[in-house]
Subunit: 309 residues, 4 copies
Amino acid sequence: MAELDGVLRELAAEMAERTDRGAVASYIPQLGTIDAGKFGIAVALADGQVLSAGDADEAFSIQSVSKVFTLTLALGKIGDALWKRVGREPSGNPFNSIVQLEMEHGIPRNPFINAGAIVVSDVLLAGHQPREAIGEILRFIQFLADDDSVFIDREVAASERATGFRNMALANYMRSFGNLHHEAELALGVYFHHCAIAMTCRQLAQAARFLAFDGRNPLTGHSVVSTQRARRINALMLTCGHYDGSGDFAFRVGIPGKSGVGGGIIGIVPGVASLAVWSPGLNENGNSKLGSIALEKLARTMNWSVFAS
Amino acid sequence: MAELDGVLRELAAEMAERTDRGAVASYIPQLGTIDAGKFGIAVALADGQVLSAGDADEAFSIQSVSKVFTLTLALGKIGDALWKRVGREPSGNPFNSIVQLEMEHGIPRNPFINAGAIVVSDVLLAGHQPREAIGEILRFIQFLADDDSVFIDREVAASERATGFRNMALANYMRSFGNLHHEAELALGVYFHHCAIAMTCRQLAQAARFLAFDGRNPLTGHSVVSTQRARRINALMLTCGHYDGSGDFAFRVGIPGKSGVGGGIIGIVPGVASLAVWSPGLNENGNSKLGSIALEKLARTMNWSVFAS
Amino acid sequence: MAELDGVLRELAAEMAERTDRGAVASYIPQLGTIDAGKFGIAVALADGQVLSAGDADEAFSIQSVSKVFTLTLALGKIGDALWKRVGREPSGNPFNSIVQLEMEHGIPRNPFINAGAIVVSDVLLAGHQPREAIGEILRFIQFLADDDSVFIDREVAASERATGFRNMALANYMRSFGNLHHEAELALGVYFHHCAIAMTCRQLAQAARFLAFDGRNPLTGHSVVSTQRARRINALMLTCGHYDGSGDFAFRVGIPGKSGVGGGIIGIVPGVASLAVWSPGLNENGNSKLGSIALEKLARTMNWSVFAS
Amino acid sequence: MAELDGVLRELAAEMAERTDRGAVASYIPQLGTIDAGKFGIAVALADGQVLSAGDADEAFSIQSVSKVFTLTLALGKIGDALWKRVGREPSGNPFNSIVQLEMEHGIPRNPFINAGAIVVSDVLLAGHQPREAIGEILRFIQFLADDDSVFIDREVAASERATGFRNMALANYMRSFGNLHHEAELALGVYFHHCAIAMTCRQLAQAARFLAFDGRNPLTGHSVVSTQRARRINALMLTCGHYDGSGDFAFRVGIPGKSGVGGGIIGIVPGVASLAVWSPGLNENGNSKLGSIALEKLARTMNWSVFAS
């Protein structure tokens, strides 16, 4: 893997020089103060190695990347019953959020848009206090990353809560259709906290590795989810993982991925590796600008694509 | 491949017995009279073999499956300039057609919804009479299928033209935004004729084979499109190939595919095979009901998935 | 007015016999238990008389009829500055509520749809505690009705609050656009309480009388609002007073009116009279079914129409 | 009427000096070349007098003002059966046209938006050749205006036809729902021709006079339509006559009116007068900018409002 190591290093160097870095999310102060110049990348391989370059050991707010892990947990908890409350189709609409909820009677299009992830949080709340549900999510991610230092940035969580009027609107709207079983405040409490989890690229790549190996830890053979479930989560990432830029990401990069407004993206190369990249500036669809570009270049260089023969 | 042969035979037998076959499209009389009991399946392999079962040698109206081939031709003609006139995102909206055109100022979401395919037809018209453009499309598909007997069902084309008011509305609407360069009548003439092409499962599987092998004929090595383009067409099929059921198809079947209201579906297993299935009854999203189920079963049995490790 | 007296009596008798009474609103238990057989009507004239028939002295939940009075108060408080935060156009859309808020960036179409009335409540909160704002509204309506027995049904208010998830969604959604200046909870507290005001037809007809006489009490000459403002409130009632049935009410009845889901409607015959009718069953647009029919018949019999020569 | 004469003269003088005249419609060359400095106004009174000022004797393209007359004719032809094919509600949506048709399954919201007027044209076609239907409309307007010099500007009609892709889309879309009984080409032929009728303010005021006097010619007592129908057409003008500025016009001016993109507006003061104003520059809702302002000023000066006591 000397080759991949060099590729990552060159990529990080190239990205460090680019000036078209997009705009850092600023809807809460804690995100807006991040240095737009950061760039990190990490690749977790079957043999346990994690190669990295750039700022790959600096923790950042994973935001919506966390939705892959909460979805995994919720499927473990209630299985396919989840799909009665959340769809599996791309939102496919710049005017998506509330409009589509109205059209589709309170059923979010997929678990990766905000409304869908709030339903997932609501599922994780069943039988728990919010504090317990949040603890369960954090411990699951620490377990996947094999690193107990993964933490929740409580300042970010508090700030999202104080300004999250649109998410409050979504939650109440779904509740008006009976598709939220707990108080909006409680479900959002879980949601805001898991979005505020802070991780490094290295930790994220490691945590997502089970998705690249049919649901198992390739070293120990330990199964996190079934083969079928792992593939299906990958399918959801490919079709829905980048908001209204999902089609473009599949077209350009050709692998399943999930982005967050903190500038992180995870990517899955089935049978080969799991990836994490971080660059805080966002493109017009709210996905990491340089992160997307770096993954496109990396995939092309390494000939990684789920569509390759 | 004795094993696959048996799998296909069993699958065809199982499907023949099912009574929940969906409803045959009836918007034009020529489609409505098709026997809902039909079921055919064919698999084209790298070594040139085409295995099949059921009614795999009976020609049917390929309808929107043809959009994969016209897209391929249009990309060959104007390359990435196409993407200024058509998007690459799932439509993701049961109320898609005209609503989204209004929201997005006459730019269709992707080349596989009707509006997008009409723009593709408009591209193929440039410098040609409709008759010539139609002839070019037919010859391209005959070449891919390696079979000159592929034909256009002119009765179906005439019938679609006579009743295609909504497509006429879409075409005129795009023309009002300047995104149709020829008269609506002319672009629709091309569109209705390529949708009316009739093919067998065997011919379709063969014609789609280049997409499973990075754009090349695996026997001759002859290149139809570049590796990158083949993968990208596969990506578009995975995210947009089944209308508002695209996410579900990716979730259940896990391979790129494209359906038509005639009941046909093509599927791509990169590096392994191209598939075609046909059963005229449709599910609630307008995709072949038994065709989708058969592909899901076949993919599971053969462990075919672009998301597999 | 012997004649009008007889007309009202006959109308009440005719309505008492009808069996097609629509469905009583049931979204909160307190409304659902009302006897669908009730019918009352009252007409307040220039000379101070209030003629009535049927259950005109029974108090009912005025619900959205209250929005006419809160709009009047808010205009008194901040004048035309209100129109920067609320539009003056019919919502004109069965899918109105949240969809339109998204399209129009948090500005409700008019002050009579829920979102608009919540903004009006927010205006009335400025410088006040919710309790004070609610008190001010109640005292204003008591003053207009010249009757201190008008009261707020606190059980209805509490019940609306406990189940008003969609209104909570609307309020939070507007707050995400900066068009709500107080906490959603507080503005909704005011909103739910003024919707829970209980009045009789007699009280309502009396309270609305100033709108029929260019803003003045026709007996004392005392001015409630300016002539221009009274006419403009009438214009808003005519174009927006019956949700997505506003055009139909103008077409059939021909006078400004405002309905509530409690089954009440007020109507204005400029220069002649103000009316109130009550029948709890609603038509498909959420307006009192028999109330609308009774007003249409009354207007035709009395030749009342703002469009008459 | 010396007073009104002076008011009109002053108004015309004031409007002549204003420089904020809006933008002249330019979607067809014939409209774009009109001098934005034009302003005319005319008032038809009960006694047969027509007072006027400014460019009141210059013919202009009446465009959508013609829809009041075609609606009147269609109601005469099929009566209330029309309301099965067209609604009576304000469109209330800046994104109205095709979006609403999709939501409401091909039934236009009202007869004054383009889609609704195309259905009205379709009604007038029944049993006729387009040429005959167009002739019938022209003769009806000549009769109402008592002036045979009213004519159709065929160059305008031809030009609208050549560029009217969006109207072609609307017509085909309605035909896909079965709500257009003739070929789109034919219905649009009628539509484009009646929109291309050219009239002076004086002719227009005269032609609309029956609506101010309960459907009758106030001099002869001759009835054009029933009292009820006249009032109902007025109600439709008040709620739907100015596209998405209808509420604002009712709020500011307080009388029924109908505008056209040629810059003309007719207004009705029941029992008193019918008005026509013309100034080619349009405001952001597509209604004559100075025409709207002039009518607001005139109504205020003369104390004309359907909401006055």
